[in-house]
Subunit: 214 residues, 2 copies
């Protein structure tokens, strides 16, 4: 199965700007992308990157400068035009730094014409579709919208309940998850950049940065 | 299996104070507790509440005014003193408003002397132990500490990767998860209190409150 990983090549990950400088955020985003691509490859499926601009990875890259919705929907349409109607295709976000083979296999092997891995905050972090008419709309509570879209084309729904796939890394609090649960390059990047876990008042865990790299 | 649900009977859930008044937070916490207890009961296991003070629920309540660590550790010790060495016992937090039978079954049926459901932010939202010497320490990055404690007593470890069990409802952003994914009394409470999902700038989803009850 082809598994597309959309990547905003010029994305600044601005919500991480209190933790990482612009160059670091650019490097960090590419590090997460490589971890996700590797995890997909380890499942035995076929990772591809769908990027808004050139990006250096060891898998095929399709460049499409349009919006995420337009690019993904074009991909879905081309795929089902070219293949059998029930040949699946998957889309997995590039900032799922905790994604593992086990978690992705649960998604890829779940039953349903369309199977979702919901993200925190109403998002859709990954999906598989075997239905030719499912299309995406990532704005807002995309998880609920995507369920409605799938139902509107009479697709059966599946949902994978995964903390790892629900965790997209967008803001400093998410770095706690990478340090606690990650085991790839992304965690290594943070450790080398001097991030560590600290327990703040009230027992809440956060990150602090003791050094600088680069 | 006995499944204990610790509950701070006087806990104000202060991090929700921008969203809910003190009385509402009290009611909200009890509503989540009832949803969790019901989900545990539906698994066929035996829910019990371990509370810091009296609380009205339809299952046995043990009152222990001490800290969470002291109360849970006393429970574990008594349990393994009284039972066979490998008779399991579980502890599930009372604010896991998204907990379902399916998610809890994955926890209860997973392999391992000690099986964890990690929570966001380094927490431990639920665990099962079949090992007589495992003890808890909930302060700080308890998930990592609990793994270390389990390893130190030569317990084999299991981990359940569940977004539902990772989501403890502590702050306003967590209400988004309840409105998106909940289907119990807790979601109903929020809907009746006038909460609804709104898409803010940058596409992030949050909650707004359009009415007041009670």
């Amino acid at each position: 199965m082809q598994v597309f990983v959309p990547f905003a090549a010029d994305a600044p990950k601005t919500r991480l700007s209190s933790a990482l400088a612009a160059d670091e955020r650019r490097h960090f985003a590419r590090t997460m992308l490589r971890d996700v691509v590797d995890a997909v490859a380890e499942t035995g499926h076929d990772p591809r990157v769908l990027a808004t601009g050139p990006v250096s990875v060891d898998v095929p890259v399709t460049v499409d400068e349009r919006s995420l919705d337009a690019a993904v929907n074009d991909l879905l349409e081309s795929h089902f035009d070219a293949s059998g109607d029930d040949d699946p295709i998957a889309v997995v976000m590039a900032d799922l730094a905790l994604a593992t083979v086990t978690a992705l296999d649960r998604l890829f092997e779940a039953n349903g014409d369309v199977v979702f891995a919901p993200g925190r905050g109403g998002g859709t972090n990954a999906f598989v579709t075997r239905h030719p008419d499912f299309r995406v709309d990532y704005h807002g509570t995309s998880y609920l919208d995507h369920r409605a879209i799938a139902s509107s084309v009479d697709a059966t729904l599946g949902v994978v309940d995964s903390f790892r796939l629900a965790t997209d890394v967008d803001e400093p609090a998410d770095l706690v998850e990478v340090l606690c649960h990650g085991d790839g390059r992304t965690r290594e990047f943070l450790v080398e950049a001097g991030f560590e876990l600290v327990t703040a008042d009230e027992g809440r865990v956060t990150v602090s940065r003791t050094g600088r790299v680069g």
